[in-house]
Subunit: 586 residues, 2 copies
């Protein structure tokens, strides 16, 4: 492709609303352009990368017996009411009414649609198992879209659904998809981790996430330094490394003391001399899926050095979504004090206690009176709890839950997720089959997603430098960027570029030729920004010596080669790079 | 692909809501399944055909320098207000509000989005020309969806947009797309016509439609029997073949007479003995784009044998959409009579007269009094007109407007449409560029659509028989359907089928193997229904003689060939068929 024949516009300025490197670089490179918050147009280069990634996904799924279909993006309310998710999905589900007053939503996910599709055709155990997938534009009404495609409203997703006779079959299907996803991300050639994950409001009880590692990742991953244990912090069990030794002190008399303006754990620790991990803080949540209808306030106690894990609370209470923190006003109404001066003593609401607090005696808590705390407080004597358990966030340095080693922390971008669903949807929607024994049984299901557009941006987030993108070969829009320095037609550099272009095309190596009338500096800057894996510089000066320059984007270590051998050198470099990528050596 | 590994379910029954053959066959063959009115899931076979057609379209566009991008399906209200189409598009534009109260619509077309995309990047004449296209799911809130994908709400479309410096450039772009579309439909291998068309509310003043011919087509096409003139009846000028000889009678005195229960032209002609083409009928329309706000009633006079062409009225009045007929109540209020007894004499609203009435004298019209007519009525003397012109539908037998031959009528399914837009959108949206002379100029545009999913169904509508679909090779889901009659693994028929499958795959010929445990009759019926171009029957009985059977779907003329030569015979047949298809011999 010639630059002059395509639609390529690069920007020098950093776009005002772009916060992370991949977003900045994709906009500057003309890969994406914002239409509205969370909705972007994909330019020609971006679309090439997206399609290459889609193709990798298709190949790995087809290879494993999955069947591609395409379902509608607009979905009728009725099927979402069958599963109860019309309400449960909340405001993220974009609803609409047509001219006849019928209600629909934009497809955020397709469990309902695919179950409806399947229940109309499947009758017997002979019709099972199978796995249906699609690659499709999805829509979620994100409350605060940002980071380009990373947290967009409209995005491209591959979603797959498995259908089996029984849970054994469903487990085989789940493992099949695990292998498919692993192969997809290995072929992509980027650093990724597979972690245990929460099932969200999709349902089911087994799920794993695939994360591309990147500093700007929204998720925290905890990975054992000595085994293959890995989990999203949301679900990672928290096990103290240095167990706080039970103090075994005799309970002393509880006592109120003034703590003027000491509202944070840090300030309190400084003022009292008690370390944060021996102070106890009290957090307030609404243990309800609809706080407007039913506030249901609860208090959670944990060590001052720990953080509450709302997903653990969600699972403890069996909610659809993680509970929300109470507002300061709500806390004031319940406790009589502002957050920072609150504690468990005298509370009329249920109190949960993180197991880390269990070993503490004679501890300090808020007095439920502004600027006062209580000391020598003891659980059981001074307040009662409804549950003691693991309610805190695990963190780097905790013990690995499999008993092997300690946890290390990474940031990741979630790009894939696999779920074992069981019969949650099939039971609610009457998707049954007649077993070999003549029994009517609900179909066992699994669902599996890959964020296609998100993955492509995540690759950029992991692979870039200050000058621009560094595409992996696997999904680079073009493999080679020819910087043609003297592009006048009929002249030697243009002819050499054409020859190299034609030879490479025969070998399925794709080139972008920068044939603009621009200075070399402009061309090099744009080549760095756009990020094709290999730059080939062809100019009159070099050709005086019969030479062209090869510049790998990642290392920027230029080598001069004979123009006549350029194609061989390029092919060799690409072959070497491809192997390195597959081995994950970058 | 093996039947047993895919997701294929055929139906014996005709679906209740399917009215035309292609809809019935696509549902019976499991190609599509309805989710809601106007929204269908594409099964695996349908998706293969759709993708093959998309690929043909992409290749022909890429070859001609078009650039593929992908724009959002959800579009903000603001840009549609810039062009005035937020209101003008009417209720077919599906609108929605997000959680923050912002208004959006689902993309029915993308002129606004692409113009917004382009105006952010294009600065100078050096950035022009170019052509951007996308393949995307679109949504229109059809008031009465029917015929499967033919008049659906959600559908797949390829839309392209050209951007040029001036109208000469835009004409070159238009012709380029004309050639691309012609090549696309030629490669498809079906019978089609290119006709002059109306621009609808897209704007611009030059447009042509591409129609696949089929009896169930919603459009009437008029084609000269002696030249290449062809037009959609909507825009075809109407020229009488046998000119009605002016009677040159002396105007007589107007006279009222009773016509009890004579409300139709047929009844009136029978009762009076005056032929329908010498009677004059009066039709009432609302010459307004918003009849609720502003009724603006007008009367149209034409011969009893003619029909009003609302598109000609639309263009006469400069409306966005064809005007609606008045209701009986509205007519009664204006004329004092019910339709069937109305006429121009004494009307207070503007009267338009079709040129066919011009030559009539002393004619009969309704008296604006139920069950009475007037005779000896003469235009000019008894009523005044505001316009005389071509307001009727042209019809078979009329003269071709290019002066060559007479018109013949066809039914067609509109599958492609090309428009020259001029600067309608660029002016309204300030999409300008700086010319070589330093002048700020609006970009010249064109837009070009192909209904992808609609085309695939239209191929079926044109190519089927009572037993099922007859796919053209170009987009058949598979080229060959192997009916494996004795599918037990390890037995000879299964082995022969596998060999043939493998050999054909090497030559890029795609096979579907029916490996189910079903009787031959069931397999043959399903093969006919699914419609792959060539059926190959492999069974133990035939193999006893070393033979397999080849059955072309279109002719059903079976030939037996040696199993050892089967692959050669199949390749030869496909090659022959491909040539026949390209020549349009079917």
């Amino acid at each position: 492709m010639r630059w002059s024949k395509s639609y390529l516009f690069t920007l020098k300025e950093t776009p005002a609303d772009a916060e992370i490197p991949s977003h900045i670089l994709l906009v500057r490179g003309g890969y994406i352009r914002k239409l509205a918050a969370g909705m972007s147009t994909y330019g020609p280069l971006m679309l090439r990368s997206i399609k290459k990634f889609e193709q990798i996904v298709r190949e790995e799924l087809d290879k494993r017996g999955c069947t591609e279909i395409l379902m509608p993006m607009v979905q009728p309310k009725e099927i979402w009411e069958e599963t109860g998710r019309w309400k449960e999905m909340g405001e993220g589900l974009q609803k609409l009414k047509n001219r006849n007053g019928h209600e629909f939503c934009l497809g955020a996910t397709h469990e309902e649609v695919v179950t409806d599709f399947v229940r109309k055709d499947v009758k017997s155990y002979r019709d099972l198992p199978f796995n249906l997938y699609q690659v499709q534009t999805k829509f979620r009404d994100e409350i605060r879209p940002r980071f380009g495609l990373m947290r967009g409203r409209e995005f491209i997703m591959k979603d797959a659904y498995s259908f089996d006779r029984d849970s054994d079959g469903a487990q085989v299907a789940y493992k099949n998809m695990y292998e498919a996803y692993k192969a997809v991300f290995e072929r992509l050639g980027v650093k990724f981790r597979i972690v245990q994950a929460d099932s969200g409001n999709i349902g089911g009880n087994q799920s794993q996430e695939f994360h591309i590692l990147a500093d700007a990742g929204e998720d925290q991953l905890l990975v054992s330094d000595s085994s293959d244990f890995a989990a999203n912090v949301e679900v990672c069990p928290a096990i103290d490394a240095g167990q706080v030794t039970p103090k075994n002190e005799t309970p002393k008399a509880m006592e109120e003391f003034a703590t003027p303006k000491l509202r944070t754990i840090e300030d309190l620790a400084k003022a009292t001399g008690v370390p944060a991990n021996q102070l106890v803080k009290t957090m307030f949540f609404s243990a309800s899926d609809d706080a407007k209808l039913n506030l249901n306030p609860v208090a959670v106690l944990l060590r001052g050095s720990d953080e509450v894990n709302p997903v653990k609370l969600k699972n403890h209470f069996g909610l659809s979504n993680p509970p929300m923190l109470l507002t300061d006003d709500e806390v004031l109404k319940i406790t009589g004090a502002h957050p920072g001066s609150c504690g468990p003593v005298g509370l009329k609401i249920p109190i949960l206690m993180d197991q880390g607090v269990k070993h503490l005696t004679n501890f300090i808590v808020g007095a439920n009176k502004d600027d006062f705390h209580l000391k020598n407080v003891n659980a059981g004597r001074d307040f009662q709890t409804v549950a003691v358990g693991d309610f805190r966030m695990a963190k780097e340095g905790d013990l690995s839950p499999d008993g092997k080693g300690k946890l290390k922390s990474y940031r990741g971008i979630e790009v894939g997720h696999i779920f074992y669903l069981g019969t949650k949807y099939s039971r609610k929607m009457n998707a049954n089959y007649l077993s070999a024994e003549g029994e009517l049984k609900p179909i066992e299901m699994g669902c599996y997603g890959i964020g296609i557009s998100r993955t492509v941006q995540a690759c950029v987030e992991q692979n870039h430098d200050k000058d621009g993108i560094i595409w992996p070969l696997s999904i680079a829009p073009y493999h080679v960027h020819i910087a043609l320095l003297d592009p006048e037609e009929g002249k030697l550099p243009a002819e050499v570029a054409d020859q190299i272009y034609t030879e490479l095309k025969k070998r399925n190596i794709e080139c972008l030729i920068d044939d603009r009338n621009e200075r070399p500096g402009v061309k090099f800057k744009d080549a760095d920004l756009l990020g094709m894996p290999l730059r080939v510089v062809i100019g009159a000066k070099g050709l005086d010596n019969g030479e062209v320059e090869l510049v790998p984007r990642r290392t920027k270590q230029m080598v001069k080669v004979k123009a006549l051998d350029a194609v061989e050198h390029i092919l060799a470099w690409i072959e070497k790079e491809r192997l390195a990528e597959m081995k994950g050596s970058h």
